[in-house]
């Protein structure tokens, strides 16, 4: 296989197959934790760690796993890495762990991770699975940061707790509430579609 393709395994997660904007997977953490940029970044990093580790392990033992128990095996591996990530965050970054609350343990049932194992890691060699996982993980992080930035700016008038809009700005409380998450996601998905169509027409 050519090296161009390897390159694509990595970049497809950012735009073409972005887990949030294109595949619309993992909506639960996407909508729940993106009240601020910092939460989005931390959730994205935790999720990328779990996705990359799981993909490597699954890809390594892919020929040993009997087809009938593959989902159970994937889930055990995912749960192990999630628990490791959760404990590590609790031990080293207690404030972030507190802000993310139950959404770190919930990565276990995040469909992006199980989806990537089913769709990719179980039938591709380690280096490809690694590139795919890191691309998807960073694509997910990017999406969360975007959502978090819009919601934090409009909902609290700040970015990363640094006040950007002056005191004249009355924060739109709805943007930090769940409804704001749905509204922002809807607009961002629409925007992505518009850009994608323009790009296609241009080509």
């Amino acid at each position: 296989m050519s090296s161009v393709k390897l390159y694509m395994e990595f970049f497809k997660g950012f735009w073409k197959d972005n887990p949030v904007f294109r595949q619309l997977l993992g909506m639960c953490p996407t909508l729940a934790v993106t009240t601020s940029v910092l939460n989005g970044v931390s959730m994205g990093i935790a999720m990328t760690f779990v996705l990359v580790s799981t993909s490597i392990v699954v890809s390594l033992i892919r020929k040993l796993i009997p087809n009938q128990v593959r989902i159970a095996t994937f889930t055990i591996i995912i749960a192990t890495f999630v628990t490791i990530a959760d404990l590590y965050m609790k031990a080293k970054f207690p404030p972030i762990s507190k802000a993310l609350g139950p959404y770190v343990p919930l990565i276990v049932v995040n469909c992006i991770i199980l989806g990537r194992q089913e769709a990719f890691a179980k039938k591709n060699p380690v280096h490809r699975s690694f590139l795919d996982a890191i691309g998807m993980g960073l694509g997910f992080t990017l999406a969360l940061v975007l959502l978090g930035a819009v919601r934090e700016l409009l909902g609290s008038g700040s970015i990363l707790d640094y006040r950007i809009l002056g005191t004249w700005f009355e924060p739109w409380v709805i943007m930090i509430l769940p409804a704001g998450a749905f509204i922002t996601l809807g607009f961002l998905v629409a925007l992505m579609n518009v850009i994608d169509q323009r790009l296609r027409k241009a080509v």
């Binding site: 040993l64 009997p66 095996t73 055990i76 192990t80 628990t83 404990l87 909902g155 924060p171 930090i176």
Partner: protein
Amino acid sequence: MNISARMIIVLTAVCLFAGLSLVFMDRYAKSLIRINAEKAMQEAVFKVLPEVTEVERIEKHERVVFKGLDKEGKLVGYAFVSEGSGYQGIIKIMTGIDQKLQKLTGIYILESVETPGLGAKITSSDFRNQFKGVCVVPQIDYVKGKKPEKPNEIQAITGATISSRSVVKILNSTIEYIKEVVKEEKSVGEDEDE
């Protein structure tokens, strides 16, 4: 090899590895997590008791009360954690009270899951500062939409009366209990002096 034997072997091996790695992780993280919780608690004590330089821990009836001492070792007040249900979940509050158990010296919200932008304002300093010097005799009370007039009143947050009321309720119920604990602690102390 037949397929069921292979399934059992692979699953067992995977679980074994998972279990082992979790044991190691847990041993590494457990002590750190405990230290973090302890540190957060201590810091909160300093936030609610002004001019305190030393904190002593008293445990009574499965409740922890912190005794705040100033530079000369004189008793400034007590701090304790109160807990109760808010609008959406548990609210945990660190509360400081003066040594006569008459006035609060400050409160700090340790944990809460109130609605962002509304109930979550109970963690803001504007709301919390109202509790500085509020009288707890006979009970803390709250008023809506006007400035508090009596020394035992605070003003509820507009649009978040339930959260404000929860805080007041949690404080009132725990203060009664803490008075008992402190009384016992004091009588024990006096016995020792004799």
